[in-house]
Every structure is written in C-alpha cells, then in structure tokens.
Amino acid sequence: MTAELARGQNHPLSQARLEIRVSAGTPIVASATLGDENGKVHGVDWVAHPGAPVLPGLEVSKQAAAGHRLAVDLGAVPEAVHRVSVLLALPIGVGGPVRFGAVAAPFIAVTGLDGTEVASYTITGLDAESAVVALELYRRQGAWKVRAVGQGYAGGLAELLTDQGLPEAGRLAGGINDAVAQGLARSVQAPPQRTADGDRTRQTAAPAPGPDQSGPAPQAGSTPQGAPGPVPPHPTSPYGAPGPQPGYPAGPAPADPSTVTQPATPTAGGPVDYSHPRRQTGAPPSPPPTAPQARPGQPAQPVAGDANGWSMDERLYNQIWGMFEDLARNTAAYRSAVDFAESRMEKELDQALSDPRNRIGGQSDAAREVARGKHAQLVDQARASLDRDLAQLSAEAEVVEPALPPAFARWDNPVWHGYRVPMEIPMALRLGDLYLPESELLRIPMLVRLPLERGLWIDSGQGGLLDESFADSHELRRLALDTAVALAARLLAVYPTGEFGVHVIDPAGSGVQAFAPLVQTGVLATPPAPGAAGVADVLARLTQRVDLVQMAVRGGVPDSLPPGLDTAEQLLIVHDFPHGFDDRAVTQLRYLADEGPAVGVHLMMVADREEAAAYGPLLDPLWRSLLRLTPVPDDHLADPWVGHAWTYEPALVPSGSQVLQQVLARVAEARTRHR
C-alpha cells in the first residue's frame, strides 16, 4: 500500500533495505547526506554524490539522469547517523534548465527491493530553486521513518549544503557539478539512436535485449545443430536498419548499471555483489523492470507510459516496442510448444503403428489415444500460458491506446478531434497495426522513426496478397490511394507548420478523387502534377534540391544554401507509376529513392509492381529500398526478434469520418497564419 505523502508528512519504514526511485522530466543530480542526531552533516565524507557515490549503506548514481534508483540499506548505515537526506539538484553549466519551476515536478518514491512502493511524494511548488531536499529518512525510537521535505534552495547545492551545516559546502557543490558535467559530456544526450552497426556476427557486451540485437534475419549458426530449427518465411523486415532499443535510451538515464540492475546488493554489507568493481559498462543489465514485476497469477496493473524515456512520447514509444517484443516472444513460445507437441505425437503414433506387440487387440488404439492425449495436454498448457500473456498485453494495450499522441494514435482516437498543429517533430509515426493469427484482437501499433529513413511503397497490385477475394482491382487501387492519402495527411499533421511539404505526381489524373482532401484543403506544396511534363518538372525540382543539399553538406557548408530554398522535408507521392515516366524520369526517381532520405526528400510510391515489369530487374533495387505496405491486411512484415510474419493493416480513416478533413483544415489554417 503506497502512502502518498504531502510535504511534511511522514511514514514508517518496515524494511531496512530500500530503493529510492526518482523521476523527473529532465536530467537531475541525486545526492544524499548523512546527518547526526541534530541533523548536522559532519564533513564531505558524509555526503554521497556523483563524485563519491558510495557510503556505507547508501549508493547514488554517478550521473545526472531523468530517472534514478538509489539503493539504501539502513541496517548498514553507521550508528551515529540519524538522518539520511535525499537531495535533488539541476546540473549547472550544461545548458539545461536552471530552475525547478521550468521542469515537471520531480516524483520520488521509496520502494522495497521487489519494487513495491512504500511511500511516494511529488515535489510540487518549486520555482526558482535549483536544489531541493526531497526526502529524509530518520531514526525515531529505534525505527526508521521517511518524511517528505521538499525544501528548495534558489542558491543551489552550495546553499543547501551550507544549510545542513557543512563547512566546505561551496567547494563540494562545485565538485559535484564538475563530476556531473563530465558524466554528461561522455554520454549521448539524444533519445534512442539507431546504431549503424551492420556487422553482428559476434556481439560484444552491448545492450543485450532489444530489436537491434537479433537483426532482421537469424544468422547461420544461431540455431543449434540438430535442432528442429524454425524455418520462418522470409518476410522483409520493416526495420531494415537496426531498430531503436525500447527500454534502452542511449542517454545517460540508467546511470550506473550496478545500481540499476542489482538494487538488491549494491552496497557494502550485502551478501553478494554481482557488479564488477571496476567496470561501469561491462555486461549490461537485464532489462530493469520499470514497473513492479508481476507475480505469476497476479498481473500488475498496466500503466500507459510505463517504460524508460525522456518524454512521455518516448516512454510510450518504448512501451509499444516492449509490447511488440513481448507478443513476438510469447507467440514464439506458444508455436514452439505446439510444434513440439505435434512432432512428438507423430513420432509416438508411428511407434504405436510399427510396434508388433500392438497388432493384436486394442493396444494400438490405446497407445494412439495416449499420444493424442499428451499432445492435447501440452497444447492446452501452451495455450493457457499464451492466453495469460495475451490478457496482460491486451490490458496494457487498453490503457496505452487512449494515451497515445496523434502521431502514434489511430484515426478513430479522440485525440485527433482535439488536434493542434505541433511545435516539434514527433519521434515516430504510426503506419498501421500489426497482429499475429494467434491474437487477432491484439493490435500492436506499427511505429517508424521520423524523419523517415526509407521510402514507402503502397502496393496496389494483387500479386502476393493473401486475400484473393479482391477480384476488383479497382477497389484495391482505390484503397491503396486512400492509404497513401491518410499517411500523407498524418505526416503533414504531425510536423510543425512549414516543415513538411507534399508533392503529388498523378500523370493520368486518375487519383483526383482520392487526392481531393489534400488538394481541397490546400496543404499540398504544389498542385498534383499532370502529364509527362508535370512528372519531369516535379522530379527535376526535387532532384535539384537533393543535389544542392548534398553538395552543401559534403562541402561542409550546410548554411550556404540559396536563400529561396525550402528547408522543409519533402514527400513525393507517385501515383500510376510508370505511366508518364520516361527513362530519364525513372533514373531521377531512383536517384531520389537512394539519395533523398538522407537530405529530407522521401518517396511514397502507390504502384503495382507488375505494371512496371517492362523495366525488368532494373527497378528491383528501387522496390527493395522501399518499405512495402498494403492497402488490405497482409502478412508480409517480420519482427526483428523472432521473424514471425506479422499481418499489417493500414491506418485508415473510419468510413464516414471527417476527421482527416478537419485535421487538414487546421494544418492549412496554421499555414496561412505562418506565412
């Protein structure tokens, strides 16, 4: 039972070994001071801080981070210590916010080692302060208690430490800031970054779990010899490059691996210390549970945004990736068990058949009955285990979906009705949903990072589609266009005003009706280009743009672009390819596909590959470079962990809904004001 403390309130502590978790919207420094019965801090060696993180019974992180886990063992704290104060401070001189009033209220919780919260406190009401005594743990009649303090200091750590009676306060505060600044300089600040590591034949001690690790395809040697290695179909991975790592922001968040992973025993006096004493970045942690681990049979209450991240969007993004991975792995466990049950049953049935003793009487039947029974039992067990996992993931999806920002949300999410043009580019975009046959009701949002790293191909052809019932190719084309328009509208909506431009090539004008929402609201950069001349014109302009930006970037003078150049990212929608394209235009298109993404020019093909068959293998690299999406559900996308074939379903606007027009109208309106 968690006690939510208000300022000044206290709460008894029944355990000596505790974890103090801190989360804030920005990297902060966590320190702790030990005080005697009068609250006096006797010297610098009574302060645990990033420069000297370990004291008996206490360990703090060496770095500033948005999330902290401080390990505390009150049993190991010296007798003379009667008070442990937990301090939070904003790092000075690193370009971040300098007052707590400018950041979200820090949240601090005292938890047991198993993650159950004992007491929590949200430190509100801070303004110009840059350091705060958040909590204190204190002895009262032989027992320990926690009190919410929330005393802020505008003069920062120096003032705070002076107030605690520390003579060398100023010097120590300076030292702490230096230690923190050094730590920040070493670490990557940005949210999760893709690693460009293509070679993963042998992985060194890098973040272990995460979509990045197993790569798009299982390598030779990754299945045991003689093992019934799964032979999955080879759908293309939607994440050609190694994906970001959910739960592993590259930033300094999990500051000290030892405190993150081994909350149980980081301090002296614990029974076993797993961490390597002189290594900070060695064998990395198992994924730190961000929520109290659910005990079997008692699923934890799911919470939206319950993952690591610097912002709510990033936390949701990481959470969705975590759900994606969980579903992939839970299903892998289920399929593997069912496969095993089937192969065992077949073997046993064969045996029953070939055993001469079974030829007489009903023994053969009995043996077969037993084999079938064993099969059914194992399959039932596997299904029960999968159902348990699915129930938990579904409960999580139910809280996550409504909490999603527009860029991650389905079109039927009410968040779109309150849509406002954003101020910054979101980290990712939802292209649709993914699901597996075992769990058709559980949809995982398919998110790709922005800016787009690959072009998109909305396949309007019937080749390769699961569902052969689409006899009406007209209908399929129409759906493909709708998918393209919905995605283009989504991109326009989630970029800030003036930072995203959309061009349309529709040589035959056959997409007029579908493109109407884009055209009528006036959000296109240029009207749809008709005819071969239009094609040539648009391609020439975009090619020139790619050239210019590339030259400037390669020459190291990205600031010297011509003044008239629109620096917004550009999306080119090509409909009816290759109609209206001559050889020169095709070459330009390939050039854009190859070179465009790096300089902010993206391609969206709405095409049937068969219609371009005349070009032969010439265009194969083009199709391969694009992420193929389908206008109807189709199982062609692979997850990066196990390689299941996931069914993709596009993010379409519910029929009859005007939400897309409304959103585009807002975009257009913001644009006129912008100009």
């Binding site: 060194t204 299982p218 093992a227 466990a333």
Partner: protein, 188 residues
Amino acid sequence: MTKGQAISLQKNDGGSLTAVRMGLGWQAAPRRGLFGSRTREIDLDASAVLFADKQPVDVVFFRHLVSDDGSVRHTGDNLVGGVGQGGDDEAILVDLSRVPVHIDQIVFTVNSFTGQTFQEVQNAFCRLVDETNGQELARYTLAGGGQYTAQIMAKVHRSGPGWTLTAIGTPANGRTFQDLMPSILPHL
C-alpha cells in the same frame, strides 16, 4: 554443491524459484618470460541449451542472446574476461516462470572460445545464483581444472510444479556449445 547433487528449487516458504542466473567470471593468466608484457586474451563463453524431451529446441549464447520466447537472456559477450576480480563477466538469466511449457531441461555450459584450457585461466568460476535473493546455489572453480576447454556445468529441469537444479560439472572439450552436444546428451 557436489557433482551430481540435485537441489530442488522450491523455496522453503513453498514458493518456487522464479529466476536463476548463471554467472561466469575469469581473468587471463599472466605470462612469464620474454613476452610477459603482452597480455593474452582469453574468451570464455557461457551458453544455455533448452531441451524439450531431449531434443535441443533453442540455445542462448553469444550469437543468439535471447531465446526466441524471451525467457532466457544472455547479458552479452565478454571477450577478455574481467579486469577486476570476483564479478560475473558473462551471465545468463533464466526467468523460469516464462520458460515455454514444453521445455523441460536447460543445460548450462562454459567454453573456451580462444582454445586455452582452464589451466591457463585465472580466477575462473561459474556459478548459479537465485536471482531473486542473490543466494548462490552452486559454484565451480574452473581455474587449474585440467586440460579441458569446456564444462557441462549444471542443468535445471522440471520436477512436479517447480524446477530442480542438478550439478553436473563434467569437463569436456569444445569451442562452442555445438561441440559439446555429445557430452551433454548423457546428462539429460
């Protein structure tokens, strides 16, 4: 814990063990003589093989860090061993409650990828730890262990509703777990 000894992983309070960690730690032996200053790197690898009815189904090692079902995770390859002493340089975590229902045995092995025998490794050990409370369940000292390049360390297997740990501790030779398959099978 001695060779062949079995420990039930049921806890005293009736709850059963939910997570185990196999830890492996080592240091390269210093060389004496002419090239003494040139340290020789030793790469030991920890692996876990998942069996269903004596058939290997999945394996977790440095090229496949997470079992497909996610229940067994390797914390990452360490190529040179520890610079310090005493800590785990590689670890494999097993969430027993999430192991697929058909997997009934998990065998842990250690190999010397670079080919040195355990005689040439200093402070090498492997151990099994109850991840929930840090209690060490089994520990082997590999160093000075003779002319072997591998060891079949232990297995956890289903028994009744819970799991049991059996120490194996059989020396073997091989560079990766594949070479050890013949040595593993008799212990299943």
